[in-house]
């Protein structure tokens, strides 16, 4: 039963990284577009994301609930020490959500649209950076767990681990990943000039992603961050990242040949590989503090809770997933993909 729960945890994480990531990324692409392209991107984002965007962030809640129900000890450490960056993530999600609703549902079009747009774009960029920083803090090996509030100040206990360069690099890397996903997604949604624009965007973010990934790993390795070292010494993780890199070539080919579905699946698969590589290198020790490693599987919830949760998740999965898939299928996501392009 534990494996069912773990499956759903990783599944929600994956979907959040993919769908939520594309959602954030769309805003980032808009942020880095020229004024004329911003307009177009804005409309495309609404068309693509509109029907399912509400559902995207629910994966985050599902993850959170699974963590606190089944892995209470792990959740306890995470939530206490990530209080501040996660609060910043929440502010980002809130402002961004509010801005999204306002710019698309507001009955009156006027100057205030300007502010909604900028709020949406900046929120879309900052939120994944903070999310990444939170994850970077967990694995960066700088968390100090103590009750000795005399020796350690507020900054030492609650700030320094997520304000480290390593954490910041992870944050930027995740933001670039989001932009990469979104720009690949948007290519298939556009015609003519706009299409070229997204193709350029996609190439740009791919380069940013590769460069950042390289800096991240080498910085981690040379600053002797345990996670990065273990990552480099783990052949499977390295192979996954390598494969993901090699797959960029067919991806570019697909984009050129306008295979929309194939290019999306490929981009998604590349992200899966990266995520898998990152988790595999250290699973299940996904908190690394200054002194020890904390396993996700330590001090699990009692068996009755785990099996109950597993049953709930299975039932929920059977009800929700077909509905979600149908929603995506009925409307834009998949239907638009299948439409032949008119140039």
């Amino acid at each position: 039963m534990l494996y069912v729960v773990l499956f759903f945890l990783l599944f929600s994480l994956l979907l959040y990284v993919l769908l939520g990531g594309a959602d954030f990324g769309a805003g980032i692409v808009e942020l880095f577009s020229s004024a004329r392209n911003k307009e177009h991107t804005r409309d495309t984002i609404y068309r693509v994301m509109g029907p399912i965007w509400e559902a995207n962030h629910i994966w985050l809640i599902i993850m959170l609930v699974i963590l606190w129900v089944a892995f209470p000890a792990y959740f306890n450490v995470m939530i206490i020490y990530l209080h501040i960056p996660l609060s910043l993530v929440l502010l980002g999600i809130t402002l961004r959500g509010v801005a999204f609703v306002f710019r698309h549902y507001d009955a009156v079009l006027d100057k205030s649209q300007f502010w909604y747009n900028w709020l949406f774009r900046i929120g879309s960029f900052v939120t994944p950076v903070f999310l990444g920083m939170s994850f970077g803090a967990l694995i960066g090996g700088e968390i100090i767990i103590t009750e000795d509030y005399e020796t350690y100040g507020f900054y030492d206990l609650f700030m320094q681990h997520w304000l480290s360069i390593f954490a910041l690099l992870v944050g930027l890397f995740y933001a670039a990943l989001c932009a990469f996903l979104a720009s690949t997604l948007l290519i298939g949604e556009a015609d003519g000039k706009a299409r070229k624009h997204y193709a350029k965007n996609s190439a740009f973010f791919t380069i940013v992603l590769v460069v950042l990934g390289f800096i991240l790993i080498s910085y981690g390795y040379f600053s002797e961050i345990k996670f990065a070292e273990d990552f480099i010494h783990n052949p499977i993780s390295l192979a996954c990242v390598g494969l993901s890199g090699i797959l960029l070539f067919p991806l570019w080919k697909f984009i050129k040949k306008e295979y929309r579905i194939a290019s999306r699946y490929l981009a998604g698969f590349q992200v899966v590989l990266i995520l898998f590589a990152a988790l595999y290198a250290h699973f299940p020790y996904i908190i690394i503090t200054a002194e020890k490693e904390i396993s996700l599987l330590e001090n699990l919830a009692p068996e009755s809770t785990i099996s109950n949760l597993a049953i709930m998740l299975l039932i929920g999965g059977f009800i929700i997933l077909p509905g979600l898939f149908h929603l995506m299928k009925s409307f834009n996501m998949i239907k638009l993909l299948e439409k032949p392009e008119k140039d």
């Binding site: 804005r42 409309d43 984002i45 068309r47 509109g50 029907p51 509400e54 962030h57 629910i58 809640i61 599902i62 959170l64 609930v65 699974i66 606190w68 129900v69 089944a70 209470p72 000890a73 959740f75 306890n76 939530i79 206490i80 209080h83 996660l86 609060s87 929440l90 502010l91 999600i93 809130t94 402002l95 959500g97 509010v98 999204f100 609703v101 306002f102 698309h104 549902y105 507001d106 009955a107 009156v108 079009l109 509030y149 507020f154 206990l157 609650f158 009692p302 009755s304 809770t305 109950n308 949760l309 709930m312 998740l313 929920g316 009800i319 509905g323 979600l324 929603l327 009925s330 409307f331």
Partner: protein, 456 residues
């Protein structure tokens, strides 16, 4: 104030905001589907316009409810990590089911929002019903988790350890039913009177009277019926509390001395230092009867509980009085509506509409007051008789800043939603006065501003 106080204040504010968003998001879909049903039956375009207007409201409140709910689920852990560490595995079931219900709601809303002219009419309408049902289910499940804090069950507590955990028993804790019933009815009362009040205001100002009268009728019927049922549910809740949390009941009634045939106080100023209540109206033996169904039953007073287990009495008492007072008032307002069905002349009277405008926000005040009774009345416990709130709070200092941060976050949310709704109502009136109800206007008013460059 200490860290703990700020953490409690933050929780109170967040819940206070969230409960409003959540109630509206939960109840408005029902108005929407009734109006939609009438449109399908009568093909009167006014109903379609109304459905569309309410749909926008539903979408706005769903999103804000979702956002504030996300923040809240983080805050539970951030503010009360020790509570979540132990309670999480026990009350995970309502939360995971709630997640599922919420997901169903989101999917149904997706279908409903984007399904006009794309889905079969009846199925499309039915997805609207699912939005409402899933919303209410979410609400009930979350309240069940709160019920568990009042009536902890589904585990054994031995030497400070929670063992033999039974998540189903925790979900179906003894308090879940009465609390969920009371809350669901309250959501209907508050939202109905709130929405009816908004439309009453438009009628009062003589704007598009036909549409707003139809809207008023749909909303107020829900509210009036729920307001009549609410006292019954309140009585069930009171008896429940009397049995399981006698100290909370005593605080609600500011009842200090244990006595048989205890009187019920209406109003009154509580002096917590001297443990007295002045300026109250006493109804002899009423408390004993309401709490235990027996005029001579003994009601334990606050003086007979240990000092370190007493909640703040004055706040709980005032909040309780506010809630009951408003509940009674709204019940009478409901009665006035039912009488006006016979006496049509009342509908021409501006004071009739003025009444519904004035009472519009009261239902929400009552909900807030009710939650203050439940939550402050349970103090100093976070899990009744098991874990103290002070033992659950985060070790992180500086909660003061956290409090102001979240206050800022929720204030933005509240202000923007209010503003947005205001603009929706204004635009509804403008369109109707400029272009007299043609199908085109409907489409235009619904179409989101962003996506109109692309064909369907």
């Amino acid at each position: 104030m200490e860290n703990l106080d700020y953490a409690r204040l933050q929780m109170a504010f967040t819940l206070g905001f969230h409960i409003i968003f959540a109630c509206i998001g939960m109840v408005m879909p029902f108005f929407m589907v009734v109006s939609h049903y009438k449109w399908l039956k009568t093909r009167n375009p006014i109903y379609k316009r109304l459905t569309m207007a309410w749909l926008k409201g539903v979408a706005i409140f769903f999103v804000t409810g979702a956002v504030s709910g996300t923040a809240l689920s983080f805050e539970l852990g951030m503010l009360w990590p020790e509570f979540m560490k132990h309670a999480g595995p026990i009350i995970g079931m309502p939360f995971s089911l709630e997640g599922a219900a919420f997901f169903v709601e989101a999917i149904a809303l997706g279908f409903y929002l984007y399904g006009w002219n794309k889905l079969p009419e009846k199925f499309h309408w039915f997805t609207g019903v699912i939005i409402g049902v899933a919303g209410v289910a979410s609400g009930i499940l979350v309240v069940s988790a709160n019920g568990w804090m009042n009536a902890p069950s589904g585990f054994e507590y031995i030497n400070g350890e929670f063992t033999n955990i039974d998540p189903v028993a925790a979900l179906l804790n003894p308090a879940w039913f009465t609390q969920a019933l009371h809350m669901t009815l309250a959501a209907f009362v508050a939202t109905s009177f709130g929405v009816a009040g908004i439309h009453a205001f438009q009628i009062f100002r003589k704007r598009n009277v036909e549409l707003h009268t139809k809207a008023f009728k749909i909303a107020i019927v829900f509210g009036a019926i729920a307001a009549f049922l609410q006292p019954i549910s309140g009585d069930l809740s009171a008896k429940d509390v009397a049995e399981r949390q006698p100290v909370k009941l005593a605080a609600m009634e500011a009842h200090y001395e244990t006595s048989k045939g205890a009187p019920l106080y209406i109003g009154g100023i509580v002096d917590e230092e001297n443990r007295t209540v002045s300026n109250k109206i006493e109804i002899p033996k009423a408390l004993s009867f309401l709490a235990f169904g027996d005029f001579n039953a003994e009601v334990k007073g606050l003086n007979d509980f240990p000092d370190n287990e007493l909640p703040p009495v004055a706040i709980v008492h005032y909040a309780f009085q506010t809630m009951v007072g408003i509940g009674t008032l709204l019940m009478f307002a409901g009665l006035i509506y039912f009488i006006s069905l016979r006496k049509k002349s009342w509908l021409q009277n501006k004071y009739y509409w003025l009444l519904f405008i004035i009472i519009a926000p009261l239902g929400f005040v009552a909900i807030e007051a009710g939650w203050i009774v439940t939550e402050v009345g349970r103090q100093p416990w976070i899990i009744h008789q098991i874990m103290r709130t002070e033992d659950a709070v985060t070790p992180m200092p500086g909660m003061k800043y956290s409090f102001f941060y979240y206050l800022f976050l929720y204030t933005i949310l509240a202000i923007t939603v209010t503003w947005l709704m205001n603009r929706q109502i204004k635009s509804l009136n403008q369109e109707t006065s400029e272009e007299k109800g043609t199908g085109n206007t409907l489409k235009k008013s619904f179409k989101p501003t962003g996506g109109n460059k692309n064909k369907d």
